[in-house]
Amino acid sequence: MTPFDLVQPASLKEAIALIDPEDPDVRAIAGGTGLMLMMKAGVFRPTRLVSLRKLGDSFFRIAMAASGDLTIGAMTPLSAIEQSSEVLRHAPVIVRTMTRLSNVRVRNVATVGGALAHGDPHMDLPPVLIALGASVAIAGASGERTMAVEDLLTGYYETALARNELITELRIPAQGTMRTVYFKITAGSADDWPALGVAVALASQGGTVTSARMVVSAATAKATRLISAEQMLIGANVNDKTLEIVAEAAADEADIIADLRGSASYKRELLRVYAARAVRAAMPTSGAPN
């Protein structure tokens, strides 16, 4: 490993100032669970890492507003989210997802902001957060902005963040009658990186879908909404025939990429099967918790 500088700023402003916007080898590090893998693999060789460790306390919080909107500080470790009663009440799909997201040692250290900024398409949280309609607050040298998680992820390990912008907060809107499920399909152990991730959020009335969000991950370059499949679902009655058409649309629409966890044709078939299962599971009659 080549030597690098490690700096530990005490404030957000200082952290942003220490990141050179022109240099891809200078990067912020939060929990480090993702970045360290890249460094070990030799594909990221930093000249300077800006540790956000000292900002941990200021950006570690989970709060639910009276409106039902949930706010999670970017430095909140995944295990704190997993154990939060607010998260369990407001978005139980996140808590269920955590149980198979890597292992407890990683979840104790990895932060939610880091998980989103890393841009790895194999991660479990981005598809779930997109299905929940979540957004992030971002701070940079030129001020603050907010962005939907869906727009944050722009490609394989690529995000819409400028190099010297940091995610400060995750915001999940009140879900109302929406029910969300996430299916993680692994080719190895249960907590392995997925070969495919599918998240579906549905609102329905009397068996008819009134609102739908469907997201595929791990098989694509980034967590991506399946818009055609969503449009076919809205207004439809969920039955075997509809599910077949929707699953077909999902498998056709996704731009699937092969990796070590499966060929493109295998992953496409997985998507066809699990898109239908996820929609069924997100319907109230399935008995699955919302």
């Binding site: 890249m38 693999a41 990221f44 390990y157 070590l260």
Partner: protein, 154 residues
């Protein structure tokens, strides 16, 4: 994994073939290629560097020209050893030149296999980079032919 595409050039097929079969010119059209060395007229070594987001991939590549059928086909085998990451890239690249009036259509097809740790990361990288590299390749090729063809100044 297969990456394929077409590039249309306003030049005669013979001229395009001549340009593409010239290894230094061909290498200059691929973004990130450096240190091209000729071992013999059908064997070359080169270094390929590419960046995606904050990730950096560097390969030492051995290139073997396996078929030269003027003026319509060039086939090459590439073996790449990534620097700093475990794995191997093997690829067969076929380029076919088709006449279309006064223009030439370059049809390329690359069958690539990535093994080792590179396999889990490399394919999406190649796929996302492919379009960008095609754009760069096309721009360089067009620039060369706009100037009367590569090497025309000599």
């Amino acid at each position: 994994m297969n990456i394929a595409g077409e590039i249309q050039v306003s030049a005669a097929r013979e001229a395009v073939y001549k340009a593409l079969s010239d290894a230094p010119f061909f290498a200059s059209c691929i973004e990130g290629v450096s240190d091209l060395k000729e071992i013999d007229p059908t064997h070359y070594t080169a270094v390929l560097e590419t960046r995606i987001a904050y990730l950096h991939f560097k390969f030492k590549a051995n290139v073997e020209i396996t078929e030269l059928s003027p003026p319509e086909k060039i086939e090459a085998k590439v073996e790449g050893m990534p620097l700093g990451i475990v794995g191997r890239l093997t690829a067969t690249a076929t380029t076919q030149l088709v006449e279309s009036g006064s223009q030439t259509i370059i049809r390329y097809s690359i069958d690539a296999t990535l093994t080792g740790k590179l396999g889990s990361m490399g394919e999406p990288v190649l796929k996302s980079k492919a379009k960008q590299m095609e754009k760069y390749f096309t721009a360089r090729l067009f620039a060369a032919f706009a100037g009367g063809g590569p090497g025309s100044e000599t």
